[in-house]
């Protein structure tokens, strides 16, 4: 039915709106219904195409649900050990300074296991970009508590809800990154509605632009839903991002040296 309609539509003078970026593979994704990874993949792909970086991009993928990103994007990809994407990306970028290098990491990967790698990479001001997907749980392994899990949130390893006095409070990675010297751009965005998606794309492009201009490290945190591990329907999970996540993890740009000459990166180059 679809193919017949398509041919007829094109003959009748219809044009497609919001076509898929060519760098995205046209194949079914393994993500759960309502997972925001697909939206994030598309935004990254659109940003890469619009900035003309596809041919020189090397993607560093992490461990987590997004481990198969190389199946969904036609990019050269290095698969990093759990948490070490930022360290691997440092090596890739230093060996191939002409390449555009970005990592795509989840919150268990970047904020827990790879916290040291990520923060030191940012602090060194490596000229690379990190796309950080924060869904407040370890998605792939079954919804365990992550460093970003909200207080009171029930997960498989915090069945009574996360307790702030024993497990601490969630890490606000975008703010933490903004406080480090080598970071040129740090922002937090969400993908729950079209308006937020447009803002998210702007942030991703700004972070990528930092690397293209050689200004330093670009970091974007995307708040994302995990309906399966939150034990919710996709629509409830989308709602939860708006009502629970955004009040704790405020959206916005926390550092942008393009607009603020006081925080421009000086030195640090080898």
């Amino acid at each position: 039915m679809t193919s017949i309609n398509l041919a007829a539509l094109q003959q009748e003078g219809y044009t497609e709106v919001a076509t898929l970026p060519e760098v995205l593979a046209d194949r079914p994704m393994h993500y759960c219904p309502g997972c925001h990874h697909g939206i994030a993949h598309r935004l990254v792909a659109e940003a890469l195409e619009e900035l003309g970086q596809v041919e020189r991009t090397i993607c560093v993928s992490s461990i987590g649900c997004s481990v198969f990103i190389y199946n969904y994007m036609h990019l050269d990809t290095v698969e990093a050990p759990h948490g070490r994407a930022a360290a691997v990306a440092t090596g890739v970028k230093r060996a191939r300074p002409d390449a555009f290098v970005f990592t795509y990491q989840g919150d268990g990967d970047l904020a827990s296991i790879g916290l040291a790698e990520s923060m030191h990479c940012a602090n060194r001001g490596e000229k690379l970009s990190i796309v950080f997907i924060n869904n407040t749980v370890y998605g792939m392994t079954g919804g365990q508590m992550a460093p970003t899990t909200l207080p009171g949130q029930k997960t498989t390893t915090s069945p009574g809800g996360r307790c702030a006095s024993t497990e601490g409070l969630p890490l606000k990675m975008a703010e933490i990154m903004a406080g480090l010297g080598g970071v040129a751009y740090s922002a937090r965005v969400a993908t729950t509605s079209l308006k937020r998606i447009v803002e998210a794309k702007k942030a991703i492009k700004a972070a990528f632009q930092c690397q293209i201009d050689g200004r330093g490290f670009g970091f974007v945190e995307l708040l994302s839903a995990c309906p399966t591990n939150w034990r919710m329907t996709p629509l409830q999970a989308n709602e939860r991002v708006e009502k629970e996540l955004i009040p704790y993890f405020p959206l916005g740009v926390f550092k942008d040296d393009a607009n603020d000459p006081a925080c421009s990166v000086s030195g640090g180059d080898s």
């Binding site: 003078g13 044009t15 709106v17 919001a18 993500y31 697909g38 998606i197």
Partner: protein, 81 residues
């Protein structure tokens, strides 16, 4: 009238498109696809404004939106972005 095409085998029935659409064009159908997901369908095609909010929010890229060229006199091109 603009057109929304839904790739039912890709749709996972998450319904994010139904809340993204400002005109409530899309809604859940009674059909299941081969994966067992209850897919969305185009319920009110005439209301569609081809804003492509559904296509942009669909995490599985199952929606394609086609804009009908407006009946403008020839030469007045360059309207669509």
């Amino acid at each position: 009238m603009h057109h929304v095409l839904i790739n039912e085998e890709r749709c996972k029935g998450c319904l994010l498109c139904t809340v993204a659409c400002p005109k409530e064009v899309l809604e859940q159908s009674a059909r299941f696809n081969q994966q067992g997901y209850k897919v969305v369908e185009v319920a009110r095609q005439d209301d569609c404004t081809a804003c492509a909010a559904c296509a942009r929010i669909c995490p599985d890229f199952a929606i394609r939106v086609f804009r009908k060229k407006s009946a403008k006199p020839k030469g007045a091109k360059g309207e669509q972005a």
